[in-house]
């Protein structure tokens, strides 16, 4: 068996192009996806809102300021510009939306008169302009309720101080403050009712996202890229059985005292070692790039290697069941691409429709990917991982036994 391991390593070393393709394609695809999603900093998508404030009032200033406050600031980056600059930037497609606040907007709001905010959106963007539009709609609704509660006070404020005074009197301001305080005091029970306790039930997937903490969301692509590589490697290593047959070396093995089981074991061990090397390199780079806690790295490597061995056993069996190398290639490729798509290598499960994610989690690579993601995020129980390893071992063993049977009964004689 070890001679077969050594021989396959040597052959692999002499044929680096194939190995580079197995690694290169997934790395290229994954790298592009990670870069497109902001790399390791992983900034959330942010709408760039241009604001033309023709009113320059307290109210319009409040509106623009509110756009950049707290959590909203993470979603929208508001920038005040003049109208010409705003329209030019929009024409260049460099902003998500342009909000034009007309002259007299503040007075209109305070006096509860009709006014119009103009919002121009970038048609080349879909989600971000929608966020801006929704946010402004909420603010407009909020102003309506504010009018209902503090309409009189706001109108007095809008009309300004009495003619003979340059500012409001202190007594008036104090009186106004007390009134507002009373109103808020009356409403606070409605804002924060104690009778009804709201329990927030978060779906498991979303909870997982919330618990990620400061781990960038693009980390989700690391297991996907790695499993994509392992799938390509499995396909290539499985195909090697056809090469052995077509170059007649498999026949020579059959007529030697060495058993085909030892031969197949050697190929599996050689392939598993290659996959282990790829896992070590891939995961170490991934952990370093995203500055992840390396405590789970050995476990992640072990999991990836065993998953790769299972995928290789699957691909070998498929190759052994086909009638020609061409048919074997076609069959495995037909299988690989849906597995990559559904199994979370191209798109994370969270970005898939629910039904597709549900199917994907049951694919061999999808299942392996989920466990690997949990290991990387340190969100796993050792007992569950142990059961996972046991499952991988059992499935691989069954696939191996069927492959060995097929190799002995027909394939080698071909």
């Amino acid at each position: 068996m070890w001679q077969t391991v050594l021989k396959d390593w040597r052959r692999q070393r002499r044929n680096p192009a194939e190995f580079l393709i197995w690694l290169g394609i997934p790395l290229l695809i994954g790298g592009l996806i990670i870069l497109a999603s902001g790399g390791k900093s992983g900034p959330s998508p942010q709408a760039h809102l241009l604001v033309v404030d023709e009113d320059n009032s307290f109210v319009s200033g409040f509106l623009v300021g509110a756009m950049s406050q707290e959590e909203l600031g993470g979603l929208i980056r508001a920038e005040v510009v003049d109208q010409e600059t705003g329209r030019r930037t929009m024409a260049d497609g460099k902003a998500s939306a342009l909000l034009i606040i007309p002259d007299g907007f503040g007075d209109a709001v305070l006096k509860e008169e009709s006014t119009t905010l103009q919002l121009l959106t970038n048609p080349s963007q879909i989600i971000l302009p929608g966020i801006v539009e929704e946010t402004i709609s909420v603010m407009v609704d909020g102003s309506f309720y504010l009018q209902r509660l503090l309409g009189d006070e706001l109108r007095i404020l809008a009309n300004g101080p009495p003619q003979q005074m340059s500012t409001f009197a202190d007594a008036f301001i104090a009186n106004m403050g007390v009134k507002i305080n009373h109103i808020i005091g009356r409403l606070v029970d409605y804002f924060d009712p104690l009778v009804i306790q709201l329990e927030k039930v978060v779906p498991e997937a979303e909870q997982q996202q919330e618990e990620e903490g400061d781990i960038p969301w693009s980390v989700a692509f690391v297991p996907g890229i790695l499993l994509m590589s392992l799938l390509f490697m499995s396909q290539g290593l499985g195909n090697d059985l056809w090469q052995e047959r077509d170059q007649h070396t498999l026949r020579r093995i059959v007529v030697s005292p060495q058993s085909v089981v030892a031969f197949l074991s050697g190929k599996v061990v050689a392939g598993t070692c290659l996959m282990c090397c790829v896992s070590i390199v891939g995961l170490t780079l991934g952990y370093a790039y995203f500055a992840l806690n390396p405590i789970t790295l050995p476990l992640a490597i072990a999991w990836t290697t065993c998953s790769g061995a299972m995928l290789m056993a699957l691909m070998m069996l498929i190759q052994l069941l086909t009638t020609s190398q061409r048919a074997g290639n076609i069959m495995t490729l037909i299988l690989i691409f849906p597995l990559i798509m559904l199994g979370g290598s191209f798109f994370p499960f969270e970005a898939m429709p629910n039904w597709m994610a549900a199917v994907g989690r049951f694919t061999p690579n999808g299942w392996a990917l989920l466990q690997l993601s949990q290991i990387i995020r340190q969100d796993f129980e050792l007992s569950r991982v142990a059961v996972g390893f046991l499952g991988l071992g059992l499935v691989s063993m069954v696939l191996f036994v069927i492959s060995a049977w097929r190799l002995r009964r027909g394939f080698a004689q071909g």
């Binding site: 007529v255 005292p257 060495q258």
Partner: protein, 334 residues
Amino acid sequence: MCSLSINHASVAELSIIHTYYRGISLIKVEGLRKQYGDIMAVDDVSFTAEPGAIFGLLGPNGAGKTTTISCISGLLKPGAGRVSVLGHDVVTDGPASRAKLGVVPQELALYEDLSARENLDYWGAAYGMGGAALKRRVGEVLEIVGLSDRAKEPVKKYSGGMKRRLNFACGIVHEPQALLLDEPTVGVDPQSRVKLLDLVREQAQRGICVLYTTHYMEEAESLCDQLAIIDHGQIIAMGTLAELRAMLQERDLLRLAGAFDPAAVPTALAPLADIELVQVDAESLTLATTQASQKLSRIFTVLSAVGADIRETVLSQPNLESLFIKLTGRELRE
């Protein structure tokens, strides 16, 4: 005899092989049958091969030679009959029967990315060799096949003839006591063929039992001590070259091409003494006779009398080809 061209084994070693296996049939095939669906590839084939001798299996393509070899080597399971190598049944005692059996397949069975030495290392290890013994043997075999100076190059850089020699080397690296060669010279240039045939003779001289299949009559005649002629899965003649020639009774073979009346020809030839009609159809006629050249005019006369139109005449001396034609009515290469 053995010591004349021995390069790499001591005389004492060879004496042991000869003494141990003298009188023992290293390869024994009894009533072998193998069927693929409705096609009987091998039908009741029996023969034995002795140590230090080359046993040839001669027949056209598709005659059943490779199937026979495959059954002996353990690649195929015999449908019926018994095959043993060094006394070990190939079905019930497969690994033991294969341990001292070398196989040189018709196709190149090599790892082209690896060097000759790496190939030999691998195949030697597949037969249980290792360490210094394997290293020594690999060196010896590289010398034998003349590839020592290019042993480290990848096989894909080798010429066709070099690959053939390496293919042969892989079959003998584990020092087998019986060697199966399945048409090893197919597609080989004349120079490499001569070299390969020398290597085969050398193995036999070392006391190894060689079973050699071919459809080249000249190869069989020059190489084999014992021969079996196989056609349609059955052995139709077997013996030494001399014995097989005797079956022809020193008769020449006369092959005529043209237009013949198959019904009239036998009657027309009947009055002629010592002429055997081997085969006749509308376009060809084959006769076996002694001193055929002296009888040509009489043969032409009687055939013309029954309307034959002779356009081509081929006269051949008795050889395996003519024996095959005599036995089957067909040429060996058909």
